[in-house]
């Protein structure tokens, strides 16, 4: 669009912090009426936070949001919706208990003169959208029974109900099939011609180029580029997103290959519910193998299945023996450990003492009831704290008085003590400060010297390239590439992760 058009949305210098985490530092974006803008960014870029501030889920800490020239103070979704900003959420905002039609109008149901819901009007809208978007469901079916791709379409129909000025689509096409997406885009283009503006968040470049005219790129909470897609190649997009040039592959050091026969851990054709399919990997003794990919491509579920927290089918061979992992306790007993990057939900006992956090796995393995010696526990804990260089007032202070990085060190310390055969890591240094990060990583490296194998999933490519000898890349539930030797470089990794490399290959054929 050439300049001079009226801005329907003007966001300037948006700031949002979650405690010590600066999700958005300076994000700006302006779009005009009838524009379809892509919002791009890698893991942790802040794009999800950005749209959630616009939709009212999160309150901004700084910056300004103007809609059609009017300054908005968005305090809740009600403000956004009433002002004409509608969002189709990545996690979906549908109410499982209500029907398809009811979900489309929820919160703003059409009312008859006598005060009751105008069912006819509601059904009319539902049937119209079912027709236009090709939703495979009857209007009166309960939403919880419907498959994910159709739920996504219903979510969009719901967002469009109030005839918004701005529609935000947050990775909503992720679960949809190609033909559904095509049909959706065709319909939305009609609406756009009628004056609707769209912000399209997606990691699928194919769709971005197909649907959008312009793109804004976020990197680490800052909007770094506004581009016209006609004039930009995928490589340029990747460059802005990651700061890395894809062109010109450099040669990296060749690492020693580990043959299958020396493998400590062998996974063969594992399926994890609907999250991951046909996963086959191997990890050698003392080897650090990386797992890369955008968020939610199945790698997290895969690791949890290996740890016995999610059910799976497939074969696992550990140190030559075929095993079946039934539960985390079982996994621990068999010599597998697990560290999650989501320490708040899955790792740390924040109100409990440092020593308890470190020693919990030991404690849990003991036969009840055992009285623990306070002194011995404290000594054990302090020894580990020293090895890890944990900064804390003592072994007895609650874990939540430590910084994030130190808390994560405690969790690493838990397994340091336990010495498992295989340690599974799901983004263990997420949200951890640089120094602690380095300390943790060198610690992990040390642990491999005694033969411990590590399977390391990370959203930070730099880190992966530094610590891992080989990297498996997950994309939409499958492993699309194993990067080793010369291939293990940042440019190829970035591209593979975004599916660009694959798409480029597909495009050529």
């Amino acid at each position: 669009m050439d300049g001079g058009g009226t801005h329907v949305l003007k966001v300037t210098g948006l700031v949002k912090n979650f405690g010590a985490v600066h999700a958005l530092k300076d994000a700006s974006l302006s779009i005009e009426i009838g524009e379809i803008r892509a919002l791009l960014g890698a893991n942790g870029s802040g794009k999800s936070t950005f749209v959630k501030v616009l939709s009212g889920i999160n309150k901004k800490d700084g910056g300004s949001i103007q809609l059609e020239g009017k300054e908005l103070n968005i305090t809740s979704p009600i403000t956004s919706i009433q002002n004409g900003i509608a969002m189709a959420y990545q996690d979906l905002s549908l109410i499982p208990r209500l029907s398809v039609a009811e979900n489309m109008v929820i919160g703003y149901e059409p009312i008859k003169k006598n005060g009751t819901i105008d069912r006819k009007s509601m059904l009319n809208y539902a049937e119209k959208m079912i027709e236009e978007l090709g939703i495979r469901a009857y209007p009166d079916v309960m939403t919880e029974n419907i498959d994910l791709s159709n739920k996504g379409l219903i979510e969009i129909a719901k967002a469009l109900y109030m005839n918004p000025k701005l529609l935000i689509m947050d990775e909503i096409t992720a679960s949809m099939h190609h033909d559904q997406v095509e049909r959706l885009f065709a319909y939305l283009r009609k609406r756009v011609m009628g004056g609707l503006s769209i912000i399209f968040v997606s990691h699928r470049f194919e769709e971005v180029y197909d649907f959008c005219t312009t793109a804004t790129i976020l990197r680490e909470g800052i909007s770094v580029a506004d581009l016209k897609l006609l004039n930009s190649t995928p490589d340029e997009l990747v460059y802005h997103m990651t700061g890395k040039k894809t062109a010109g592959i450099q040669h990296e050091n060749v690492s020693n290959e580990v043959s299958d026969s020396e493998a400590r851990l062998l996974v063969d054709q594992m399926n994890v519910l609907s999250f991951a399919k046909n996963i086959s990997i191997y990890v050698g003794k003392g080897e650090v193998v990386g797992i890369a990919g955008l968020q939610g491509q199945g790698q997290g579920e895969f690791l949890r299945a290996l740890f016995g927290a999610i059910s799976y089918n497939g074969n696992i061979v550990l140190d030559g023996a075929n095993i079946r992992i039934k539960s985390p306790s079982d996994a621990i007993r068999k010599g597998i450990g697990f560290i999650s990057g989501d320490r708040e939900k899955e790792g740390i006992f924040s109100t409990r003492a440092v020593s308890e956090n470190i020693l919990i796995t030991e404690t849990a393995l003991r036969k009840l009831p055992i009285m623990l010696s306070v002194r011995k526990e404290r000594e054990k804990a302090e020894q580990i704290m020293k090895e890890l260089n944990v900064v804390a007032a003592g072994a007895g202070v609650p874990a939540n008085s430590l910084s994030g990085g130190n808390q994560q060190k405690l969790i690493v310390g838990r397994w340091l003590y336990r010495k498992p055969k295989v340690l599974l890591l799901d983004d263990p240094t997420k949200g951890v400060d640089v120094n602690s990060r380095n300390e943790i990583n060198s610690l992990l490296k040390n642990m491999t010297k005694t033969g411990m194998s590590i399977l390391y999933s990370s959203s930070d490519n730099e880190e992966l390239l530094r610590v891992a000898e080989r990297i498996y890349v997950f994309y939409e539930g499958k492993i699309i590439k194993e990067l080793k030797g010369k291939d293990k470089n940042s440019e190829l990794l970035a591209a593979t992760m975004l599916g660009v490399d694959k798409e480029a290959k597909d495009g050529k054929e």
Partner: protein, 315 residues
């Protein structure tokens, strides 16, 4: 490791002091040994039953045991029946009481852990069953009475204001403290309550701990019933029903979070004393039953509003 007295407990102790002063102003006899002894005894009974409740609430996952009154009542009835006023039956009766409590606690845990019935619903239903069992067992007229030993322990005063039962309570407080802070069970209990997911992922045997917790709660409730019988001498069906809500209240007031994983029994102890003193003050001021209900309910709401704010359930 230096034990830090939680700030909350200090506040609670402060409240106790204020209440005691208030009491003395209203009635100079309030601080007399006899009265203090009574107050401490009533606190002890409440304290016993709150042991189990503390454990259950600590276990997290919306843990709650509303059958504690019923188990306590049954315990009291079994105690009075099997002691029959004879010293030789003392130990046997105690054994029967403890086992019965454990059985019902265990049944609760089965429903909660395996059938996944919410704790509140399961224990509420169990409370009903217990009423019927009491009625059947006694035919409506409990017979017997406490052994002289039991009564003696309850009422004999080691110090002018310290009856034997309170000494027993102090011992129990020590035992509970040890269990909660030093045993592997206690550590796992707190871990579970603090972060259920993390507990599962670190090998904590969540199911097993839950079963043990509810079973222990049943046992302690029955234990409380035993001493209720010893103290009162006369027992009737559902004698313990007025202890249910207070048992939850004192746990909450004592600083244990309803979400689990945070709190201590020492807080509960302070809470038990506070609630008993308040009740005692109300009786002294000649409030009738109705007034006491209103006061209890009102105070509880205030305390809950202060202590149990849940975070806004937003993304």
């Amino acid at each position: 490791m230096k034990k830090k007295i939680p700030q909350q407990t200090i506040i609670l102790v402060g409240i106790i002091v204020v209440l005691l002063i208030l009491g003395s102003i209203i009635n100079p006899q309030f601080m007399a040994s006899m009265n203090v002894a009574n107050i401490l005894t009533m606190s002890a009974l409440l304290g016993f039953i709150a042991i189990g409740q503390t454990f259950v609430v600590l276990s997290g996952d919306n843990g709650l045991d509303l059958s504690v009154g019923g188990v306590m009542s049954l315990g009291a009835i079994l105690a009075t029946t099997y002691m029959s006023g004879q010293n030789k039956n003392f130990l046997l009766a105690m054994l029967i009481v403890l086992v019965s409590g454990a059985i019902f606690g265990f049944l609760n845990s089965i429903g909660i852990v395996y059938a996944k019935v919410p704790a509140m619903v399961m224990t509420l239903a169990m409370a009903n069953v217990l009423t019927s069992i009491q009625q059947i067992f006694t035919g409506g007229y409990p017979k017997g009475g406490p052994s002289p030993i039991a009564s003696a322990i309850t009422t004999t005063r080691i110090l002018p204001f310290l009856p034997g039962i309170v000494v027993l309570w102090i011992v129990m407080i020590g035992v509970v403290h040890l269990i909660l802070t030093r045993s592997s069970y206690g550590k796992q209990l707190y871990a579970m309550g603090a972060n259920k997911n993390a507990a599962l992922l670190t090998g904590v045997k969540v199911r097993k701990i839950k079963i043990i917790t509810y079973t222990l709660c049943g046992m302690m409730s029955a234990f409380a019933g035993f001493w209720l019988c010893a103290y009162n001498g006369v027992v009737y069906v559902n004698a313990g029903s007025s202890y249910i809500m207070p048992s939850v209240a004192v746990v909450v007031i004592g600083g244990t979070s309803l979400a689990g994983g945070k709190g201590s029994y020492s807080g509960t102890v302070a809470g038990a004393v506070i609630l008993t003193i308040i009740n005692s003050l109300l009786v002294m001021v000649n409030t009738n039953e109705a007034g006491r209900f209103m006061m209890n309910g009102f105070l509880l709401i205030i305390l809950l509003a202060i202590y149990t704010k849940q975070p806004k359930n937003r993304q």
